[in-house]
Amino acid sequence: MHEMSLVQGLIEQLVALAAEHDKQRILTVTVDIGPLSGVAIDSFQFAFDILSKENNLTNEASLTIINSPATFRCVQCGHEESAAVRPDQCSKCQESLLIPEGGDAITLNQVELE
C-alpha cells in the first residue's frame, strides 16, 4: 500500500532533520492525516512500526497521529461546516451536495529529537 511509500519518505525526512540539528535520536513524531487524504491511519501506523525499527535514529520513536477535520461547503446556501466525516446534508438548508475543502493533506507537524 502507498502508506509504506509515505512512511519511507517520512523516515528520510526525519533522518535529514536529525542530521541538520545534529541529533542522534528521534523521540516523538506528530503527523496530521486529513480525513480526505486517502491514507488509512492503521496502515500508516503499521508501516511506521515496521520501517522505524530499521533505522537507529528512529527505532525508539513513537508516532502520534492526529486527524484534523475537513471543511464542507454547501452548494445551495454556501454554509460551511468542519467535520472529520462527511455530513449527510447541510445543517442549514438540508442540501445533500457539499463540496469538500482541505482535509486532504498529510503533514509532518512536529518532531522531538535529542
Partner: protein, 256 residues
C-alpha cells in the same frame, strides 16, 4: 513556548537557518521539539508541478486514468486512439507493476508509448512520470503531442494520493465491479474531474443502477463530469470523444 517542557523559550522558529541551542535552559533534558508543518507529499508535489510546466511548455494536456485492475483503461485508450487518429496526436505512459503488455497493445495502435513498471509499488509517482515523459519525448512521434494519457497502476486507492502533474484526472468503474465504489473509495472520486462508468454493454447481466452510482459520485464531488460508455459496442463513446476534443481545442486557444 517549548512544547517539550513548557518553558517560555521560543522553539517555533523555522529551520532553514543555522542556529544553536546553547541558550540557558533551566532544565537538564536536551531534547528539542521542532515544528515542521510540511506536507509529506511536498517532494512529490514539487516534481508534479515541474511535470505540469513541462507538459504546458509543449502544449500538451495530460490525463491521469485511475481505476481498479481490469476496469477497461487500456481498451478505452485503444478505442480512443482509433477514433482520434489523424486529428489529435496522442502519447501514452503506461504504469504497471510488471510486464509491458499494455504498452505493446498501445504501440500496436501506432502511437508513442512508454511502459513504466513500478516493481511492486501500487501507484505511479511524479518522479516516475518525469523520467517516463523524457523517454517518451525520444520515441518516434513522441516529441509533438496534443494529449498525454497516463494509465495508472490498476488500483482505486493508492494512485489517488499522488499528483503526477496531470491537468485532468479520470476515474473509471466498470459495470461488473458494482455501483458502491464511489462510497467505498471516495478519494479517487473527490480528486477527479471525470467519472466514467465503463462496460455498459454488460448492464443486462449485472445489478448496476447507473443513476444511483452517478448520484453517489456527485454527492462526494458535485463538480464531477459523469459519463457512461462501452468500449466494446461504442455506446456512449461520443460524449467521451467530445470531452477530449473540447479539452484539446480549449488548450490550443489558451496555449498559443
Amino acid at each position: 513556548m517549548c512544547d517539550a517542557c513548557g518553558c517560555d523559550l521560543t522553539h517555533t522558529h523555522t529551520h532553514d537557518h543555522d542556529h544553536d541551542h546553547d541558550h540557558d535552559h533551566k532544565h537538564t533534558h536536551n531534547s528539542q521539539v521542532i515544528e515542521v508543518h510540511q506536507n509529506l507529499l511536498a517532494a512529490n508535489d514539487a516534481i508534479a508541478s515541474g511535470n505540469k510546466a513541462h507538459f504546458e511548455a509543449k502544449g500538451i494536456v495530460a490525463i491521469n486514468l485511475i481505476s481498479s485492475p481490469g476496469s477497461g483503461k487500456t481498451t478505452l485508450l485503444e478505442k480512443t486512439i482509433e477514433r482520434l487518429k489523424g486529428t489529435i496526436r496522442i502519447g501514452v505512459i503506461e504504469g504497471d507493476i510488471e510486464t509491458d503488455r499494455d504498452a505493446q497493445r498501445i504501440r500496436a495502435k501506432g502511437v508513442p508509448v512508454i511502459q513504466l513498471t513500478t516493481g511492486g509499488a501500487c501507484h505511479l509517482d511524479a518522479a516516475q512520470i518525469h523520467k517516463g515523459f523524457h523517454l517518451l519525448e525520444h520515441e518516434p512521434g513522441g516529441d509533438k503531442l496534443d494529449i498525454l494519457f497516463i494509465e495508472n497502476v490498476g488500483n482505486l486507492v493508492c494512485p489517488a494520493t499522488f499528483d503526477l502533474g496531470e491537468h485532468q484526472r479520470v476515474v473509471l468503474v466498470s459495470v461488473p465491479e458494482g455501483p458502491d465504489k464511489p462510497s467505498k473509495y471516495p478519494k479517487a472520486f473527490i480528486s477527479s474531474q471525470v467519472f466514467v462508468i465503463s462496460k455498459t454493454d454488460l448492464l443486462p447481466y449485472f445489478d448496476f443502477p447507473v443513476a444511483e452510482a452517478k448520484a453517489d459520485a456527485l454527492h462526494l464531488n458535485p463538480r464531477l463530469q459523469v459519463m457512461d460508455l462501452s468500449s466494446t459496442t461504442g455506446e456512449g463513446f461520443d460524449a467521451w470523444i467530445e470531452y477530449l476534443t473540447s479539452l484539446h481545442s480549449k488548450n490550443q486557444s489558451t496555449g498559443a
